[in-house]
Symmetry: C2
Subunit: 422 residues, 2 copies
């Protein structure tokens, strides 16, 4: 059988290590040219497939592909376009087949989170249901760490490390100043539905009194009275109070705390900004001077402080995806399987996309401490290995050297266009 081309796309919010998965896919494919002729990447994710806007990765040098391993963001562009069911979005699936057929694409690699694995699952069915045989393998990626079956999700470990390192550093700063100045520090992190990222801040606390003293999880309804009492206790006991707050924290009415405080100066209520609300609450009730930070994209793009474990896993999952595909596996996703906590050992396994699609892994209740403001030992055992190791990018002129690919287009073969529905 003559080799087919592969389609690879990045989907959803990008991370510090999604390009490491891309690197694993392309480097592995280049070793198997008897099976995979070329890897075409979707420009801006699946939109690139639908609009026949494909990137010819064979025009990138081996060195540039290798540099993807240490480059954050999505090198080919990503998007948040979600394909619905085969019946509902039949035109989109038929268009995919039209483009795949025109470019002799026999493999589909989709690198993303929950929605993307659902899409992968649907694409894996087009062989049987729409008569276009294709080998479809999902590659996990999400800072939200909410995919099932896999022990963890690439991208999460590096955000976790960034958050733990950052809250430790800023807390050292506050501790120095607390006697006569700032006593409260609030750092806002991502996580609208699950507190995985906020929980990672807890790793910085290794012994009694260490920061952070309080973590506010989306899983725990905000209790102002208990919170203020805990803040006051920390200030009186340790001299200061360091707080990690998840953007998704809600009040007893179920509103995001970030919005419940009221509208901003322009009358808008956009999520992102719970840190100032929490800080002001402390000031108003306890009178302590505060500082706050919102890490936003800095946390998920911080390749300079990426977890080596995370980078290694991201690469290996990309590599495994190609190996699974050329071995004839359809509708699967490679996974990280934990062998042991300490010493930490892991291996690559795989799951059926049917079991992954539409299942969201929440943080177990037993990972949150009884008072709702910290993490348990079980949580620490789970999280600790994921931030292990440093994997520094190369520097020039004091700055990390991240690659920007040529991203040359594959000449179009179709004379049709396709309009993306929003």
């Amino acid at each position: 059988m003559s080799p087919k081309n592969a389609f690879y796309a990045q989907s959803g919010g990008v991370t510090a290590v999604i390009n490491a998965s891309a690197c694993g896919v392309i480097e592995t494919a280049r070793k198997h040219t008897d099976k995979i002729a070329n890897v075409y990447a979707g420009r801006n994710g699946i939109i690139g497939a639908l609009t026949e806007d494909l990137i010819d990765t064979s025009q990138e040098s081996d060195a540039d592909i290798a540099a993807l391993r240490h480059t954050p963001s999505g090198a080919f562009g990503s998007c948040r376009h979600k394909l619905k069911g085969l019946d509902e979005s039949k035109a989109e699936y038929e268009r995919l087949i039209e483009v795949f057929k025109a470019h002799n694409i026999g493999y589909f690699f989709y690198n993303g989170g929950g929605d993307s694995q659902d899409t992968s699952h649907k694409v894996s069915q087009i062989g049987e249901k729409l008569g276009y045989p294709i080998t479809c393998v999902g590659i996990p990626k999400t800072v939200d760490n909410d995919l099932p079956i896999t022990d963890n999700c690439p991208g999460f470990g590096s955000v976790a490390k960034y958050v733990a390192v950052s809250i430790r550093e800023a807390s050292f700063d506050v501790a120095s100043m607390a006697k006569t100045s700032t006593k409260i520090f609030v750092m806002e992190v991502m996580g609208r539905h699950a507190g995985w990222i906020a929980a990672a801040g807890g790793l910085a606390c290794e012994k009694e009194g260490d920061a952070p003293h309080i973590i506010l999880f989306p899983e725990v309804t905000f209790n102002q009275e208990k919170f203020l009492a805990k803040v006051d206790h920390a200030v009186k006991t340790y001299g200061y109070c360091s707080i990690v707050v998840s953007e998704g924290v809600r009040n007893t009415e179920g509103q995001f705390l970030a919005e419940a405080g009221g509208k901003d100066a322009f009358g808008h209520a956009q999520l992102g900004g719970v840190a100032p609300v929490v800080a002001q609450l402390v000031k108003d009730n306890l009178g302590y001077k505060y500082h706050w930070a919102v890490a936003d994209y800095l946390q998920r793009s911080a390749r300079h402080i990426a977890s080596k474990t995370d980078v290694d896993q991201a690469y290996e999952l990309g590599k495994a995806a190609v190996e699974l595909a050329i071995a004839g596996n359809n509708a699967v996703m490679p996974t990280v399987d934990r062998v042991s906590d300490e010493p930490y050992e892991w291996k690559i396994g795989h799951a059926n996309l049917a079991d992954v699609a539409n299942v969201e892994k929440m943080m177990p209740a037993e990972y949150i401490s009884e008072d709702g403001f910290g993490i348990t030992d079980a949580c620490r055992r789970y999280l600790q290995p994921l931030i292990q190791g440093e994997d520094y990018p190369p520097y020039k002129n004091g700055l990390p050297q991240y690659v920007t690919l040529k991203n040359a287009g594959v000449p179009k073969k179709l004379d049709t266009t396709f309009e993306i529905k929003k």
Copy 2:
């Protein structure tokens, strides 16, 4: 002459490298026990001297003192207490003499910014004016980079590196998502009066189209129309727009932009939060989806991504302070003297505190590009060497290992107390 003790204190906002200067002071003093018997650190800065709350650094191991070199924050605590003139604050200077006399202190090392060098200068005069001879040496430190004579100030280079690295990483992220999602990213950085830190973001832009596309300086009055036109141009040309904004940006009425937007939900106007104001302005006028980050303390405590140049200079300035003192120099401050830009060479010099006190070094007008939104080649030549080199701290369990000293108190010798006036 039998050796005297030295007093060392950290002052003002702490940095990623002020402890490297402390390390230089203490390690060097330990090599000159014929001149300096012991180094007593002020607990929480000068307040420790006034309240006779001294820390006995001889109780710290050589290994822990060495670890100060890679530990951010102020290991002995800092404060923002400013001593006024010798006449106005005579009681405070007399109290200092009382404490110094009781503890046989003959050297005074004060590690801080402009106000602290002014204090150092005043303390240097107590020999002549109040009859207590003391050798007084200031050690420069400030992320604001606004001390005169010295080429740059320890602490600044590491913030500069953090800001340049962070805006590069976050901008890679935004570039990936811009086609269908976030098009605007705004990162707020420190700098109420001078744009040095914001300017450092410009180092990430190495060629046409690179982020950041816009820098908003406190030195340049905010022009909404020109700003929005530039944002729109960037989005239309590069697909996205990445913005670094200094917390000190002001509008045509001279108000901080962060405050001019209105009060927050609680009716307060606390500085810190210009990023959301700028982002919302873009959304309201151009409709682009945005994200924003406020780095706050993360930027000045980010020892994990410190500039090696900065760490080296901080250490050498601490060392030089001791060497200047034991050579009999009073009322001086060691400086970084630039020998050449490229290859970057520097040496340690020194200035008279009389020439340092009350002089603020502003950013030269020729460092800001003609349109007011970027940096010039001259600025780049100045800034580039300051972020050179990485100096990673040691890690354990995936986290940087920062030292917390024992900070044992020196037994009090006085039966008097002193009340600090606020």
